[in-house]
């Protein structure tokens, strides 16, 4: 009788072998970048097969590393090809793109604030990206950076509360969760504003 873990492990190894064969055969750099994302999914599958709370605690840093690595590699690719200052225009003028973003982004941001922490920051940041992409990018880097800085201060203050007044732990957890939310949301919304303009 083959168990659940062994079955998943066999399937994961087959997928990893296929992914690396095609990564080996590929010569174009952008194709390789997309296949890197496939390899990331395989790595997350291996972690998810552990199937306890440990897996959940390990997947979240994996996702952080995945998105950071992907953004860095994309920027390196753009610089290497010399197309970083290329202006892409967005002539997709369907009617939905005018009406959907405020309501949908509002629901996503509200849900993210209720959820808080890194997951809430990701969901709320996705809402802000959607709004900025569909409405055109307004340059408000100073405001976003200021909010991010205050979030950092709040996070540090929460840890001081943990160390000095341990009986106020619930208050400190709330402050830390809100600060992480604001930081992740600010970082993600920077992605949304950098879609079109040439000087990022």
């Amino acid at each position: 009788m083959i168990g659940m873990y062994q079955t998943g492990l066999i399937a994961a190894f087959i997928c990893i072998i296929i992914a690396f064969i095609s990564l080996y055969q590929e010569t174009d750099d952008l194709h390789r970048l997309i296949l890197t994302d496939l390899a990331e999914i395989m790595a997350l599958l291996l972690i998810a097969l552990v199937a306890t709370d440990l897996a959940e605690a390990l997947i979240l840093p994996g996702l952080v590393v995945m998105i950071a690595e992907l953004m860095a590699l994309a920027e390196i690719y753009l610089v290497k090809e010399g197309i970083q200052r290329k202006k892409i225009s967005c002539p997709l003028d369907i009617e939905v793109i005018q009406t959907a973003p405020p309501i949908l982004a509002g629901i996503l941001v509200l849900y993210g604030i209720i959820l808080s922490g890194f997951s809430g920051g990701a969901v709320a940041g996705l809402g802000i990206i959607f709004y900025c992409v569909c409405k055109g990018s307004d340059e408000q880097f100073a405001l976003i950076e200021t909010a991010s800085g205050y979030a950092w201060v709040a996070w540090i203050a929460a840890f001081f509360i943990f160390l000095i007044l341990p009986e106020q732990w619930f208050f400190a957890v709330m402050i830390a969760g809100g600060a992480i939310l604001v930081k992740v949301m600010a970082k993600f919304s920077l992605i949304g504003t950098m879609s079109g303009d040439p000087n990022v």
Binding site: L92, D93, I94, E95, V96, I97, A100
Partner: protein
């Protein structure tokens, strides 16, 4: 039990329309079949778990997939004609 019979009727209609959508040749004529599939799935969601929050889930699924179909149809209509 009674609601499970109703749920299976919804699911059979959804699968039938998905098969019709896969067999259809033209892109714009696939979309009405997909829309019937969305109706069936939204009914199925409510019938398999009766709870007040399920109504919100069914409405969110239905509105989301309608938005998707609207965007696909509009972008297909605005594309460059060959």
């Amino acid at each position: 039990m009674e609601s499970l019979i109703a749920a299976s009727i919804c699911l059979i209609i959804a699968v039938y329309c998905a098969i019709r959508a896969v067999l259809e040749r033209e892109t714009l004529l696939k979309l009405p079949f997909v829309n019937v599939m969305n109706f069936g799935i939204a009914g199925l969601i409510v019938l398999i778990l009766p709870h007040p929050l399920t109504l919100v889930a069914a409405a969110a699924y239905f509105v989301g997939s309608t938005l998707e179909a609207n965007a696909i149809a509009s972008a297909y209509a605005r594309r460059e004609q060959p």
